[in-house]
Amino acid sequence: MRIYATYNIKGGVGKTTTAVNLAHLAAADGLRTVLWDLDPQGAASYMFRVKPRVKGGGKALIRGKRTLDDAIKGTDYDNLDLIPADFTYRNMDLLLDTDGKGGSGDAEAGGKTARKLGKLLAPLADEYDAIFLDCPPSISLVSENVLHAADVIVVPLIPTTLSVRTLEQLTAFVAEFRGRRPQILAFFSMVDRRKKLHREITETLFPESAQVAVTAIPYLSMIENMSVERAPVTVYAPRTAAARAYRALWSEIQQLQELASGHRDEVPVGEN
């Protein structure tokens, strides 16, 4: 089982559209896939037409009183299930922090509370080959949990100087993890070739960084339409540039894993 998280501290950078399309592509490749919509806004749930509500409450789920199994909903697509968002996720930091020691500022960084999500996911290993976590934008105990649980963190970046800095911060943060560290793959998202800054940054700033994907996802109204179509773009417009771009990104993620498999521990993290 591989766990993929789409993460960025900023909102509106394309996390959810990325998670939805990549999850659909993974499922179409034959991987038994589940997407967990951790964002209380429930955008991913909306795109799969699933009501943002967890049976028995999201609180019981996070606290481990109900199993994830009960919350899983089948999507309209083969091999693809969804764990919907729940409004109680807005308090997820508190729910995860059952010890009451505080959030990510916890003296024991990467401790028990930061690994709770990973534990909740462990029972799914028999049933799924791929888990996608769609995170809310923030730096919090939730994101720390997600970063610890994930094998691969997919980071959408809008090509601005400032957002590029967030990648450096994230890389540095992950580098401090003890033991297992996730791979990070950033990619430029919502790239508008008409904007000079976008061109400059995508072409010059990270031309050769191993952490930044060659594939960039362009700014396309076809992708924005996902919230109208309420489906992955790879479903309703499979032959468009948008769908092609996500397919390229997915194959790059898989290549990255193939390269890393076997010598995970030696993968340099945060040494850019």
Partner: protein, 575 residues
Amino acid sequence: MKPGLAGLVASDETTNSDFLNPRSEIDGDVAAVLDALGRDFTLVPEQGSSLTQAKLAPRRRTWLDTFDWRLHRAGLLLEYVPAHRGGELRLTARRSATQDPGENENPSMNTAGLIAAQPVAGWQSVRPHLAGDLPVGPVTDHVASVIGPRALLPLVTVSTDVGVTRLLNEDAKTVARLLVEHPALANGSVHPLSPRLTIAEVRGYSGSARRAARIITEATGFDPVQGDLLTEALAVGGRQPGDYTSKIDADITASMPSGQAVAVVLLRLLDMAEANVPGVLADIDTEFLHDFRVAVRRTRAALKLFGAALGRPADVARFAAEFKWLGDITTPTRDLDVYLLGFEDLARKLKAAKPDDLEAFRDYLRGRRAKEYRALARALRTMRFRDLTREWRDKLTPLTPGSPGGAGSKRPKAPGISAATLAAETTRKAFVKVARMGGAITPDSPSESLHDLRKRCKELRYALEFFAPLYAPSSYGRVIGDLKRLQDCLGTFQDNEVQIREIRSLATAMQAVHEAPAVTLLAMGEVAAGLVDGQAAARADFGRRFSEFAGIEGQRRMSALLRGGLNADLRHVQH
């Protein structure tokens, strides 16, 4: 109410046109179903093929089970589903035919839960598969211990056309699927089976699926399907799941004339023997021969115990001799089968020697077995065997009830005795013999006394089993259970002794043909020592087993059992 709302179904490339082109009498009903569902859901035809559908309802599948239905009896269904690349074995829990619909929230739902699935490459549906031939995987893990030494055989193949309609909720989310299935038997010729409707659940939306099933039941009067597709497919060939059993289960009653009852039992035993002959001749697995031998042994015991009830003693003696011949020609192969079946266990128990040391012994056993089997197969192909079964059937059939000019005209010698009386008298005699003989056995008695007791126990066991339908099941179960444990103890004692003797002669024989490496002979010595220990343990256990079965309490239980059988007869007379 119309039958047709099913629990299981299949998939294919499907469009709504399946419903529009009338293919059978249910198409009109399908339109009514769609109408009713359309009031609560938005209906959309499923476009193209989908994996989800393929899982719900394979286009083609072949069910597998052992000859004696071990998977069926364990509540399991195993099917092979061919796919584009390779295929898949799927193991599901069988829906119990006796399940009360009230126990299940929704009987029309797909309740046959998948236990395990396993891809297989190059699977040949028509070939029998022993557990050892199955590829490693979760299905193999599940079934290996259930099927034991028996081979998986193809039962029946069904191909299915399916039309799928998606049921959408107010968010246009698929919350259930309606599958309209047109299955057909595909064993050579195509034979259509009843069309079926199924509501397939989407994970996390069981409420919607239940609602859809309820709408269908209420609005259109479809009734949940009784029995599964396999049962229906088998019925075409006049078969049903579980139709072979090595239990006697003869159709007899307490008041039946004893001659008739004995003929019915013997005919049932002949059926059983004959049913196993093709499997023995194809050498599919060892248990065909085992069951064949059991039927022969039971026949011999029945002739000995009740043969007089058939009349014409000379005739009976002739058949008894022929069945002894059958027993004798099958013994060497079976003895070697038993050795080979238990071989892994023998090898595992070795302490000083390594399991591999026994390989030469195993090879030798296999070679001997092949030779003995050829002789056995030749015998079963002779005129002598064919004549025996034909003449035996010809003799028994007129004696059974319901045969034209039969039972009534050819009256057996003791027409006044009912089956219950014959059973009670014979069984009592057999029991007394066992009780006396066993009671006289002391720790100093020779092995032969235990061997003789074992034979008497077998006869008693058969006497009880032949007339099992006459007894109350609970008291019968207790008596048989105690007897079985005593027999197991005696069996271990004697089998070990036989094996010890055999291993000595086999060692000599192996040396004579220079196939006996020193390590193998050493290991065989250790095996023999282990057998001696096992035999001693069985001997030590004998006293307890015997007194449980034939002590005062055991005697009371036996009397009560036999009285019960007689009372059943009396009740019948009073009516």
